[in-house]
Amino acid sequence: MKSLALEGVSVRVGARTLLDDVSLELRTGEFLALVGPNGAGKTTLLRALLGLIPTTAGRVLVGTEPLSALTARARAAEVAWLPQQPPPAEPVPAREAVMAARYRFDETRAVTRRAAEHALERVGLAGRAAAPLSELSGGERQRVAVAALLAQEARFLLLDEPANHLDPAQQGETYALLGRLLESDVGILCITHDVNLLNHVRAAPRVAGLRGGKLGFTLELGAPELPERLSELFGVRMLALRAGSSRLIVPAPPDTPGGEP
């Protein structure tokens, strides 16, 4: 088991504090969801874990080694990133967009190509490998981005709202796919606005709440106090509803009495 961790990390830009003394650990085989209101510092946290922004205080560690000590290629073997925006609609074939994620590998173009096609297959785009991104829908481009993330074969996957641009069926499928990846010993950190999608992840995910650059809580998805903590985090009353064996946490419609809890 390996870990990717923030140790007392602060990020300041000018007078603004984007992250304030955050400590967080992600282990392989684990799914951690990062939630918080807009501007809470979620994307900044991801960028710090990727080594894309310098930290003002604290360290980012892979195992026991500082992330900053790794070469760019070695870092790409540890952490991979799915940005919030899907790749732009340019006339680049989907396959080519996924192949670019294999930069860290010293391999022939044929091997890269096969790996890219395999990754596209896993996200259900096997027949679209040659299609230019400009001819794909927003949802399909998002799946190309997920395929690229898989193709990089990094140990830790950091995703910024992977369900963006996807219809409900694809949202569920994407989270189920991420859940299955945990079996191959990767660690996943995923920014989301919808904790209910985590029900598609088989393993028990943890949920970390970030607000104003500070880490508020880290709880199991099934923790009884989660709805209340989410209510505090977002400043809106959340209801917990039962649906089969799952619990759904949703914002209360106006004038709703009661609810559980």
Partner: protein, 311 residues
């Protein structure tokens, strides 16, 4: 796509070889001299220069994430021109090495300053271009100033040079240019995979293992050096690096693994053909090749701007 790429490369090379036949028919010893001492070296130098400019243009378009970037629009050519003109107008001793050194310095300084503008965060596509135009205009003004203070002999030399031309006798140009531009080609071609990854976004490419600052330094250094060598030898030749990569992309798609080498080959042919045109427009008289590329390039730039606006 692969077949099309091979076809484009084959046609380009064949056209370049045929370019030595442009002009009056050659006969006897005089004809042999004209062929081997005038036309062949001229085609070779044209190929070296055209290939360099087009390859640099293709690399710049990716590095600046801007389809209108090229060595002539972001100011590299202008910087090299100013550097070389300074040497010419001040009649500096030392010949080509000094001229080349001055051009190199000018090219490196302008590429670097435009790159800083491009990196300053929210720089839009047009900002980079504006920075390049600013550098070009400033260079123009400075060169006029330089010509004003220099003597008439230096002035004539500077004016002739600044039109951009390829004529030469013998192989000195090939021997001077090849060792300066061919290593730069190899560097740029070797960076194809990194540039292709970079094309999907700077931060994303960094997260995928590209050492972005190293990539940037290598592309800028290789481009500045090779463009400066071309400018110092032939004078400024505009628009090759802007048009050729676009034509190549339109025919073989945007994958840089194909675009970079094909820009090199097609750029070489394009400049050689432009030079053929410059030689044969009016019998007995030659146009500078820079005039021909500018005449073709300016409307092409307008067309590209229109396209960019539509998209």
């Amino acid at each position: 796509m692969t077949r099309r790429a091979l076809l484009l490369a084959g046609t380009s090379l064949a056209l370049m070889a045929l370019a030595v036949l442009v002009g009056p028919r050659l006969e006897g010893a005089e004809g042999a001299f004209i062929l081997w001492q005038l036309r062949v070296p001229r085609v070779l130098v044209g190929g070296l220069v055209g290939g360099t400019l087009a390859l640099t243009g293709a690399a710049f378009q990716t590095l600046f994430a801007n389809p209108l970037a090229s060595e002539s629009t972001v100011g590299t050519t202008a910087g090299a021109t100013l550097g070389a003109l300074t040497a010419l107008a001040l009649d500096l001793p030392g010949g080509f090495p000094v001229l080349f050194g001055c051009a190199c310095l000018g090219a490196a300084l302008t590429s670097l300053s435009v790159m800083l503008v491009a990196r300053s965060g929210r720089a839009a596509m047009s900002d980079v271009l504006l920075a390049g135009i600013t550098v070009t205009v400033a260079t123009g003004a400075l060169s006029v100033g330089l010509q004003y203070v220099s003597d008439s002999r230096a002035l004539v030399a500077a004016a002739r040079w600044s039109l951009g031309q390829l004529p030469q006798v013998g192989y000195e140009g090939v021997l001077v240019l090849a060792p300066l531009v061919v290593p730069a080609w190899l560097v740029l071609l070797a960076l194809g995979r990194a540039l292709q990854t970079f094309a999907f976004g700077e931060e994303l490419s960094a997260s995928r293992g590209v050492n972005v600052s190293r990539l940037r330094t290598l592309v800028l250094a290789a481009s500045s050096l090779s463009v400066a060598a071309c400018v110092a030898w032939c004078g400024p030749i505009a628009f090759v690096g802007l048009i050729v990569p676009h034509v190549v992309r339109r025919s073989v798609g945007p994958a840089l693994g194909r675009v970079l080498p094909l820009s090199l080959v097609t750029g070489a042919t394009f400049l050689v053909l432009c030079d053929g045109l410059a030689r044969s427009v009016s019998p007995g008289r030659e146009l500078p090749v820079g005039v021909v590329t500018a005449a073709l390039g300016a409307p092409a730039l307008v067309l590209l701007l229109f396209r960019a606006r539509k998209a």
